[in-house]
């Protein structure tokens, strides 16, 4: 775990796009503001959905084997271009 100190009014970045601001410290409570582009969260959940949709539960199933064969054919054609 990364541990560091911040004063009231200071902020830090998480990754490239998310900024966390320490807005107020009083009576044992910390008020925090998070500045993140809305797209970041939306993109991430879309990618998560796409990964779940792409995941195979049985790569030996006839349907999957058929789809793989079709994909190989199409990739082969692409390679010839």
């Amino acid at each position: 775990m990364l541990v560091f100190r911040r004063q009231q009014g200071e902020s830090f970045l998480v990754g490239d796009n998310v900024e966390v601001r320490i807005l107020e410290i009083s009576q044992g409570q910390v008020k925090i503001g998070v500045v993140a582009p809305r797209e970041v969260a939306i993109f991430r959940s879309e990618i998560a959905n796409l990964n779940r949709q792409a995941a195979l539960s049985d790569r030996q199933s006839p349907a999957v084997r058929g789809a793989i064969a079709a994909l190989q054919k199409s990739l082969g054609r692409r390679g010839e271009k």
Binding site: G15, D16, N17, E39, V40, F43, R44, E46, I47, A48, N49, L50, N51, R52, Q53, A54, A55, L56, S57, D58, R59, A63, V64, G66, A67, I68, A70, L71, Q72, S74, L75, G76, R78, G79
Partner: protein, 137 residues
């Protein structure tokens, strides 16, 4: 590593320190390489083999694919120097095989980037790009 020859996936265990979106609890995947599969590979969760993602090297789909790896991700992956697809990094796209009625599509917007030196990987969203999440293969 032979010169002038693009990096090819080899079997091994790929670790995703931050997990994979949609499968955040799965950090270890086995890269399955099979001659019969041709350019297609599988990333199967080590803990749950029923979670298997088909992937294709991105250059098979887009020869001049331009990848952006933000500095924090370079550190996460332990990359030294400028990342270059096929030279010091392996970049694959997750493929949705479709359901028979629709063609297979590949997610070019969020490729999986692997450092073949330490087998550390991350799916890196190309926020600044126009690449499709459903590129028809």
């Amino acid at each position: 590593m032979p010169e002038n020859q693009p990096l090819a996936p080899t079997p091994g265990i790929v670790s995703f320190p931050e997990g994979l979106p949609g499968f955040e609890n799965h950090t270890q995947f086995v890269l399955l390489v099979d001659d019969e599969l041709g350019p297609l590979f599988f990333l199967a969760s080590l803990g749950e083999p029923r979670i298997t993602l088909p992937v294709v090297p991105i250059q098979q789909l887009q020869r001049d694919y331009s990848l952006e790896v933000p500095e924090p991700d370079c550190r996460l992956l332990g990359l030294n120097g400028e990342p270059e697809v096929g030279r010091n990094i392996l970049c694959v796209a997750v493929v949705n095989l479709g359901d028979g009625t629709r063609a297979a599509t590949a997610n070019l917007f969020a490729p999986i980037v692997v450092n073949p030196e330490n087998w550390t990987a991350k799916q890196i969203i190309q926020f600044n790009s126009m690449y499709s999440t459903a590129f028809e293969v």
